[in-house]
């Protein structure tokens, strides 16, 4: 049996890789779509507590970290995050095409951490960095598109900082924990991540 590095190295995506990313994107597209309502409903109150608003952010970035942790291929985060955003737009998002732009930006942000590890490192540190970077990219887009007139130090910087914290914890550690919880279910058996499972 090929070891996990050899599996990761083969360039061609298998159909399971594509479908797994796409299905994660569809599932999270629905979550995004629901989260859009939570966000829009809470926004009037949260607007005055920028840090808290940032904290809610991490949920939007989970696919960007989760997909690469499972399929371990270059571009998985970008593909999954952008597709999830597109699904939420297809379901009807008030952010229109911006949410697709945002998905691309977030996916790219998350991808940076894995690229920095030359797509060989999939540990906790990489996951946390990926979550934080994805959130950084996302909130940077927010600040430019939706809150350009805000005060830099009173709002923009704390907003981004808290969102990055949320990304690191919810998306980074959260995805790592999800993968760990999925191991015994056997769904990861065909992926490098699943090789670490004990045999029964």
């Amino acid at each position: 049996m090929p070891d996990s590095t050899a599996l990761a190295a083969s360039a061609r995506w298998r159909t399971v890789d594509i479908l797994t990313c796409a299905v994660i994107a569809v599932a999270f597209g629905v979550v995004f779509w629901a989260w859009n309502f939570v966000w829009a409903g809470l926004e009037p109150t949260l607007a005055f507590l920028p840090p808290l608003k940032g904290i809610l952010y991490g949920v939007w970035l989970i696919p960007a970290v989760l997909a690469p942790l499972i399929v371990r291929r270059a571009g998985a985060g970008l593909l999954t995050e952008a597709l999830a955003a597109t699904v939420s737009a297809l379901l009807g998002s008030i952010w229109g095409l911006f949410v697709v732009y945002q998905g691309l930006v977030q996916g790219l942000g998350g991808e940076l951490a894995f690229a920095a590890g030359r797509y060989r490192r999939y540990g906790t540190l990489t996951a946390v960095a990926s979550g934080a970077l994805a959130c950084f990219a996302a909130t940077l887009f927010d600040v430019i598109a939706y809150y350009p007139t805000y005060d830099l130090w009173a709002y923009k910087v704390p907003y981004i900082a808290f969102a990055m914290l949320s990304g690191a914890i919810v998306a980074g550690l959260g995805s790592k924990a999800l993968v760990k919880a999925m191991l015994p279910t056997g769904v990861l058996d065909r992926f490098p991540a699943g090789r670490e499972r004990a045999r029964i």
């Binding site: 049996m1 090929p2 015994p184 279910t185 056997g186 058996d189 065909r190 699943g194 090789r195 029964i200």
Partner: protein, 479 residues
């Protein structure tokens, strides 16, 4: 028309220590029509997956060779078509025509030739709708026909069918078999079909191969000869040999009413027609009520409403001693009064191992530890799940998963038990064990309702039968 050969083939699924099949040596000649038999878990699905080139090196470990026309199966995918048991997961596209065209596009058939081939395949299987029909708006039997059209359109030289009628009502299954027969008459392809219920499929095949546990060869030869010579031996090994009598368990007298459904009705939001339309019935201690009827007639809906798992839009379901209708009971309380087995076993699993799944109900009911362990051990043994005690329920074969979900609900012997298709995908031996277990708890006084397409099961155990059609009771029979 191509020959197929297994040479010392063995396969171990990733995550498993034991091999699913070991040392299989088989040769199937071009154009042969073969029925593959064997107990549940013996590796039939695994062999078909190997022929379809779906056992890639990342999903497990292989020994030996699988050759199609002298070449490894993985390189021959274009010449093989496979139809699985579950229609839903093999449809790919949103529109029926697109789904059939999908396989042709992958073969790089020129666009101008695709649509004639699609129409031809749809006609061959008797698909009753146009190409724009949404694949979601099809019944199980129609989905299965469509999937088969998708297989046929590619003109495979080797056709593989894995329990193609398992989820269908007897009429739907008959329809699909007719479609298979008509389509097979048109082609010369080699055919391998896996099916537990031998009688129905026998006239489609000319050779029978019976496997034992782990893929060992029990019998092989022309259909009639094999069944005549080895019939008894095969029946003992778990094969449904036609003509071998099945057990019956006549019940003692029914007791008090244990569950009462009053004018139960449910209309799904956004649909005009009610899924269930005012069904009333009584269930007594120590009896088994069979609920039958075609696909989509509301049987599963009835089981859900009767069990208090879904809020009805009309009517109520009650048990004696509980003033509130079941759907308003807290779950913990409900679970001690009524047990339910779902149509799709996988939805029911809440623990990570087979063992814990069986221990779950008794634990909730507060049994002492020693009694739980004894009960779990007994069930594992009787249902042939003992080697899988530590496996994850989701990695089981179709039949194993079904047995586990039924056993999990039986384990704590609740006062009322509602079963949805308890016997699909079983070999004769495990079927018999399930029937015996069900009879045991019935005779201990449990009231049972069983939704089933399995006429043998109803014949063996039912005292009364409720026939549903389009959400209403069409007939009530007493046996």
């Amino acid at each position: 028309m191509i020959p197929v050969e297994f040479r010392g083939f063995a396969w171990r699924h990733a995550g498993r220590r034991a091999q699913a099949v070991t040392g299989v040596d088989l040769r199937i000649e071009p154009g042969e029509r073969v029925l593959l038999l064997g107990p549940s878990g013996s590796g039939k699905s695994t062999l078909l997956a190997a022929l379809a080139g779906l056992l890639t090196e990342d999903s497990g470990e292989q020994d030996g060779e699988v050759l199609i026309d002298g070449k490894p199966a993985a390189d021959q995918r274009d010449r093989v078509g496979i139809l699985f048991q579950d229609p839903e997961t093999q449809l790919v596209m949103a529109r029926s025509g697109d789904d059939v065209a999908f396989g042709l596009e992958n073969q790089a058939v020129p666009p101008s030739r695709i649509w004639p081939l699609v129409h031809e395949a749809l006609e061959a299987v008797g698909f009753p709708y146009g190409v724009d029909r949404s694949t979601h708006a099809l019944s199980g039997g129609e989905q299965q026909r469509l999937a088969f059209a998708g297989v046929l359109a590619r003109r495979p030289d080797l056709i593989l069918l894995d329990e193609p009628t398992a989820n269908l009502d007897p009429e739907g299954a008959q329809d699909v078999r007719e479609a298979l027969r008509a389509a097979l008459a048109e082609t010369e392809a080699t055919l391998i079909v896996v099916e537990h219920r031998v009688a129905e499929i026998l006239d489609l095949v000319d050779r029978v191969i019976a496997l034992g546990p782990g893929g060992s060869l029990l019998a092989d030869g022309p259909a009639e000869a094999v069944l005549a010579e080895h019939g008894e031996h095969l029946a003992a090994q778990g094969v449904w040999v036609p003509g071998v009598p099945l057990p019956t368990h006549p019940s003692r007298d029914a007791g008090e009413v244990a569950l009462r459904g009053e004018a139960l009705a449910l209309t799904h939001p956004g649909t005009g027609r009610p899924a269930l339309d005012g069904v009333s019935f009584e269930l007594r201690q120590g009896e088994l009520l069979a609920v039958t009827g075609p696909n989509g007639s509301g049987k599963s809906t009835l089981a859900l409403l009767a069990g208090g798992l879904v809020r009805p839009t009309g009517g109520r379901s009650t048990v004696p001693g509980e003033p509130r209708p079941l759907h308003r009971l807290p779950a913990r309380r409900l679970a001690t009064r009524v047990g339910s087995v779902f149509q799709d076993p996988e939805h029911q699993f809440v623990t990570p191992t087979v063992h814990d799944e069986l221990a779950f109900g008794p634990r909730q009911a507060g049994w002492p530890k020693a009694r739980i362990e004894a009960r779990v051990a007994e069930l594992l043994e009787r249902l042939r799940l003992a080697p899988l005690a530590n496996a994850n329920p989701h990695t089981l074969s179709g039949g194993e998963a079904r047995r586990l979900s039924v056993a999990g609900a039986l384990a704590a012997a609740p006062q009322v038990l509602l079963l949805d298709e308890p016997t699909f995908g079983q070999d004769r031996r495990t079927w018999g064990e399930l029937v015996d277990l069900t009879a045991d708890i019935r005779d201990e006084g449990t009231a049972l309702l069983a939704v089933t397409h399995d006429r043998d099961f109803a014949a063996a155990l039912a005292d009364r039968e409720l026939v549903l059609g389009a959400g209403r009771i069409v007939e009530e029979r007493r046996r």
